[in-house]
């Protein structure tokens, strides 16, 4: 093995419930703005996507029509990231760029599903009814608009990212592993530059149903993550597309690209959560692997607000009382696959702006931090499984 290469984050693209782009997000974070809709899916709460004209990053209407909302959000954010890194349209680089997308699937055609379910039960039909209705009612292109690897496919088609293309699945853990594998490939010289990220549309009744099976949805009104408790826990689905361009320092320097920050480490685990305390233990075991040099730094977590997980994460955080903690769940809701990429993006953004954004927490668990952060830890603990951490640091020039 040759020496590990330093990996920089040179591009950030965010489209979310707070708007699009880095300035809009920085302003919203500093204004402690949160965008929720508690009417449309009441009693459930979602963070709706801010108004956006997709034409700016997906110029062909035909391409937009071939995508479901989550793919449009992701393809848009990927375009922002490529712009931010200054590689948009650079065929030489895009043609050898790695892409790792953490993906779920797309939204069902709810009216079609409802008509089928009602018809099936009303007429006490058998499976033949299902064949007929599916053959007649499913839009042929819907399949591709839902298919997990077609977010990456659309990014390739729209933006020309066409080196390698891998789609990881598996909820929150897929976002952690996308960053981890891209980092490992670049550090070891298997790759020079990568685009990683994820997207979620939170305004989806089919997702609400899936999470309701496990009683994961927040009800009873919005509350910041640390104010949720055993009696009122869970998450509000968030809407966000988050992509990062990562590259080796030498590759970035050769093309004159400036870093937002460097990504020093990504570590992950699959705790056996049947045992109480497993998440706390897992995070404790990951912490020393990160290489954090000071206990008075900053930490951005995607804590979901699901009590049995977040309470264990909080127990871990309480062992590091010097850390200034920020919760993305409070601000953006839970963005599942995008949870970890969002944490990475906000960590890199904060380091590049020389400040951590202010706390947004009436319980006082999140404390002010006035000095410029040089290290920010990103934590992701999945709502049902998967734990990970990353260390984002200021680049030493």
């Amino acid at each position: 093995m040759s020496e590990r290469k330093e990996v920089w984050i040179t591009g950030i693209g965010i489209l979310s419930s707070l708007g699009e782009g880095l300035d809009a997000h920085w302003d919203a974070l500093n204004a402690k703005r949160v965008n929720i809709d508690d009417k449309r899916f009441a009693p459930y709460i979602v963070h709706p996507l801010a108004p956006v004209s997709f034409d700016a990053q997906i110029p062909k209407k035909g391409d937009q029509r071939q995508m479901e909302a989550w793919q449009r959000i992701g393809t848009y954010a990927a375009g922002l990231a490529l712009d931010s890194a200054g590689v948009k349209g650079n065929q030489e680089i895009l043609g050898r760029m790695d892409m790792i997308v953490a993906a779920g699937g797309g939204e069902r055609d709810i009216p079609v599903d409802m008509a089928i379910l009602n018809g099936y039960l009303r007429e006490n039909s058998g499976p033949v009814f299902l064949n007929e209705r599916l053959m007649n009612d499913l839009r042929p292109t819907l399949f591709l608009a839902q298919l997990s690897n077609l977010l990456a496919g659309n990014i390739a088609i729209v933006h020309g990212v066409s080196g390698t293309s891998r789609t990881f699945m598996g909820e929150e853990a897929s976002g952690i592993d996308a960053a981890g594998i891209a980092l490992a490939r670049i550090e070891s010289g298997q790759s020079d530059i990568a685009l990683i990220g994820a997207a979620q549309n939170g305004e989806r009744s089919d997702l609400l149903i899936l999470f309701e099976f496990g009683d994961f949805n927040l009800t009873g009104g919005y509350a910041p993550v640390w104010a949720r408790d055993k009696d009122r826990d869970g998450f509000a689905l968030g809407s966000a597309g988050v992509f990062l361009v990562m590259e080796s320092r030498e590759h970035a320097e050769a093309r004159g690209a400036k870093p937002f920050a460097k990504l020093s480490n990504v570590v992950s685990d699959l705790a056996q959560r049947k045992q109480p305390g497993a998440v706390t233990k897992s995070l404790e075991a990951l912490w020393p692997k990160l290489g954090v040099s000071a206990e008075n730094g900053a930490l951005i977590t995607g804590a979901t607000g699901v009590h049995r997980v977040t309470s264990e994460e909080k127990a871990f955080l309480q062992q590091h009382p010097g850390l200034a903690v920020r919760s993305t769940g409070t601000i953006f809701g839970h963005t599942i696959e995008a949870q970890f990429p969002l944490g990475l993006a906000l960590a890199a953004l904060s380091i590049s702006r020389g400040a951590l954004f202010p706390p947004n927490d009436p319980t006082g668990f999140e404390v002010e931090k006035t000095d410029a952060p040089t290290q920010i830890v990103v934590v992701g603990a999945g709502h049902w499984q998967g734990e990970g951490m990353a260390l984002v640091e200021a680049v030493k020039q």
Binding site: M1, Y44, M99, A103, G104, G105, M114, L117, N118, L121, G126, P127, V128, N131, L134, M135, L138, P140, L144, L147, S148, N149, A152, G153, A156, I157, G160, V161, S162, G163, T164, S165, R166, T167, F168, M169, G170, E171, A173, S174, G180, A184, R185, S188, Q190, S205, D206, L208, I209, L210, F213, G214, D215, N217, D269, L270, W384, G386, E387, G388
Partner: protein, 425 residues
């Protein structure tokens, strides 16, 4: 003894265990016997009614059933069966304690119709809306369905059952998924992160909606009778692929670690490569450049010239588009030799196992090396003059095979190839 590193100084990656399930049967012995006898596993679907469907056959694995029935449940069980076989052959680790990470190729997951209907029935009124479903979904009554229909559920089950280390990675690169899982395993060993990786690819998703979806894309063969003759790769009268189920599992190890523990060395993953096609969601770039690039990258990764490949295990789906593009790509790289190298498609017999195909076909490629016998392309009665491959028509053939290329080209522009050899090169 060969040096433990390849010509690029990387750890050599060998295969020390393989397990397979397809519509032909469970296990390497059964599959290989039937595959080389030119048997088809394609049959008329009996799992659900076929009335009203344009395509009524598939390569279903009917000898494995799960309760409660779901495609994701079957997908998980197939992976488990294949993994057990691979681990037994490899003899690595201890039961429930595999000393490395898991890379799993698996189909995207969503709530399925039987479960949707069960929840809808519980509403207890007619003319309900989606809000009515939401209202009764919580409270624990359907709690197992959250778990079942998480994308990470199959990997999580396998990781727990076999004790793989770290965060298991579930991935989808459509029809190339199986090859991608192997590629991720190879890369981890080459980086020195692991001495062993478990690479599994599985697909049990022949259900009504999945069949209809591919049917609506006009991707499936409609030559339903007889079902065994439907899959006709490289034939002029080919008209689409046949959906199928299966799983393949491979234990990959560094050569050094395999030799140190006296493990069986079944073959070498000498090279892997991928290149994305940004042309269209379901069609290949007409100039074939991404396929050509993928094949060239893979040869370069293995450090081989085209002339050193003795057999190509084709993607060979039997769609009009794929087979034509595959010939274009292979002939661009291999030149005149493309007409001489045997190129056969396992999919003529087992159908297209989609997410599993890359691993299933890598295993068949390794068995080809082991037995020095090339499985045929069956149903080859009407050659396509535009595809003058030697497809090993209808009958298996003994041959000297030292290096095999296995190709996977999928929806979303996903191209991945592997080079497998018997010995380290």
């Amino acid at each position: 003894m060969a040096p433990p590193r390849d010509k690029f100084g990387r750890p050599i990656v060998v295969v020390t265990g393989m397990g397979i399930v397809t519509s032909l049967g469970a296990g390497k012995a059964d599959n290989w016997a039937k595959l080389t006898a030119g048997e088809s596993g394609i049959r008329t679907v009996t799992r659900f009614p076929i009335d009203g469907l344009k395509t009524t056959m598939a390569g279903t694995v009917d000898f494995v059933t799960v309760e409660p029935s779901s495609s994701t449940g079957l997908t998980e069980r197939l992976a488990e069966i294949a993994t057990e076989e691979a681990l037994e052959q490899s003899g690595i680790g201890r039961k429930g304690d595999f000393p490395g990470p898991l890379f799993l190729a698996v189909a995207p997951v969503e709530t399925e119709w039987p479960q949707r209907l069960e929840v809808a029935r519980a509403i207890g009124k007619s003319d309900f809306e989606v809000q009515d479903i939401l209202k009764i979904s919580g409270g624990g009554k359907f709690a197992p369905y959250h778990h079942r229909f998480m994308f990470g559920s199959v990997a999580s089950y396998l990781a727990e059952t076999f004790g793989t280390k770290g965060s298991p990675i579930s991935l989808s690169t459509a029809c190339a998924s199986g090859a991608t899982a192997i590629q991720l395993g190879v890369e981890a060993i080459r980086r020195g992160e692991a001495d062993a990786t478990l690479c599994v690819a599985t697909d049990g998703s022949v259900n009504q909606e999945a069949l209809v979806r591919f049917s609506l894309l006009s991707a499936l063969s409609t030559q339903n009778n007889p079902p065994q003759a439907a899959s006709k790769p490289f034939s002029k009268n080919r008209d689409g692929f046949v959906m199928a189920e299966g799983a393949g599992a491979l234990v990959l190890e560094s050569y050094e670690s395999a030799v140190a523990r006296g493990a069986p060395i079944l073959g070498v993953v000498a090279g892997c490569g991928e290149l994305t096609d940004s042309f269209h969601r379901t069609r290949s770039s007409p100039d074939g450049k991404p396929i050509i690039g993928c094949v060239r990258k893979t040869l370069a990764d293995a450090g081989l010239e085209p002339g050193q490949i003795d057999y190509i295990n084709a993607h060979g789906t039997a769609t009009p588009e794929n087979d034509k593009m595959e010939f274009l790509g292979i002939s661009a790289v291999f030149g005149d030799q493309a007409l001489k190298i045997p190129v056969s498609s396992n999919k003529s017999m087992v159908g297209h196992t989609i997410s599993a195909a890359g691993a299933v076909e890598a295993i068949f490629s390794l068995l080809t090396l082991e037995h020095q016998r090339i499985p045929p392309t069956i149903n080859y009665e009407v050659p396509d003059p535009a595809i003058p491959f030697d497809v090993v028509p209808n009958k298996a053939r003994d041959a000297k095979v030292t290096a095999v290329m296995s190709n996977s080209f999928g929806f979303g522009g996903q191209n991945a190839s592997l080079v497998l050899t018997r010995e380290p090169i």
